[in-house]
Symmetry: C2
Subunit: 204 residues, 2 copies
């Protein structure tokens, strides 16, 4: 683009989609660089060259804006692999999640977004509706296929499996706050699939 924001402003309003994109880019940049607490409507409006009124109109809170900016920034292929081997596919997908947290810079913004969500209803809503629940649904779909193919028991609770895998990572990240890395992934998947009781232990 050869025109500056000031040039455009001089001639009239920018299209809404363009403003929206600029706001999300600015908010994402501030979140990643300076953290959640730096994402205020004031600061984002200034960096995006938009009006604060617009931001108030479009987002219920700076937290909700930060969440949407983060999803836009970190959009990635969410499709679960299906190679026919559920163990391998879970290791691939959970490994990608751990790398995303630990090597691709998501650890801090994700912790801060989930943290702030505990006291900001609109952020909580954006987080679970736009990110956490859709991701769980993708995992469920893959697990349902495995169940139909006999790789998971008929009475397996697919949501519990998701809690056991992704929940374990969030537990270390947010609650215990202990370091972990990709080496945990295979162990998590094998414990979820095969349990920790001796083989042949009677169930129920």
């Amino acid at each position: 683009m050869s025109e500056s924001i000031a040039d455009r402003r001089g001639r009239g309003r920018r299209p809404a989609a363009e403003v929206r994109a600029a706001v999300l880019t600015a908010a994402g940049r501030i979140l990643l660089r300076d953290g959640m607490q730096a994402v205020t409507f004031d600061r984002v409006a200034m960096e995006a060259g938009s009006s604060k009124t617009t931001l108030y109109k479009w987002w219920p809170s700076p937290g909700a804006l930060a969440a949407e900016a983060y999803f836009a920034h970190s959009r990635r292929v969410l499709d679960f692999p299906d190679t026919g081997d559920v163990r391998a596919d879970l290791i691939t997908q959970l490994g990608a999640f751990v790398r995303w947290l630990k090597d691709e810079g998501a650890e801090k913004p994700v912790s801060e977004l989930v943290g702030a969500a505990q006291m900001d209803e609109s952020l909580a809503h954006a987080w679970s509706e736009s990110y956490a629940l859709p991701r769980r649904e993708l995992a469920r779909q893959r697990l349902r296929i495995a169940q139909r193919q006999g790789q998971l028991r008929e009475d397996a609770d697919l949501d519990v499996i998701v809690d056991q895998l992704w929940g374990a990572c969030y537990h270390r990240l947010l609650v215990l706050r202990v370091p972990f890395d990709e080496s945990i992934v295979e162990r998590l998947v094998d414990h979820a699939l095969y349990g920790s009781a001796p083989r042949g232990a009677e169930e129920r």
Copy 2:
């Protein structure tokens, strides 16, 4: 006690232990009644009849004070039961945790404390050192006994089991933000012990 705070003040300082107890009581009451954001040094000092300077001296942040107040308020027997049956004992202990969250009012303060910990290093430290890590150690000890007795496999990863059980609850509480209740407990324990693959599925 027949003396008011003002009476005692008139005659000199209250003993430090007494002030500390009053501060923790006030902070716990504010946290439970009005939430994390209401726990400020100003407000706690006022309600406890103590000086703000004392609070600044004793606690690195209002968050750290809130965390300590919460532990003091909710002190409960943390000892893990040992009836000789690890499945039964895990169900008892995890059930107590879910009831504590869901029926005994801990859900909101726990969410808010863990949430605020993501942006407050001193609160994070208080939370993991005083609460999360000691609780994990108690669970580990119980699991180690079960492992020695052959109720868990020799190669079972005890920390992963803790992540699968408690982490699953925190996952639903903080990340997915979906409702759950005690009915989840038996399923979580059975999935952790027996896995979700068909019996006899080859491992590794």
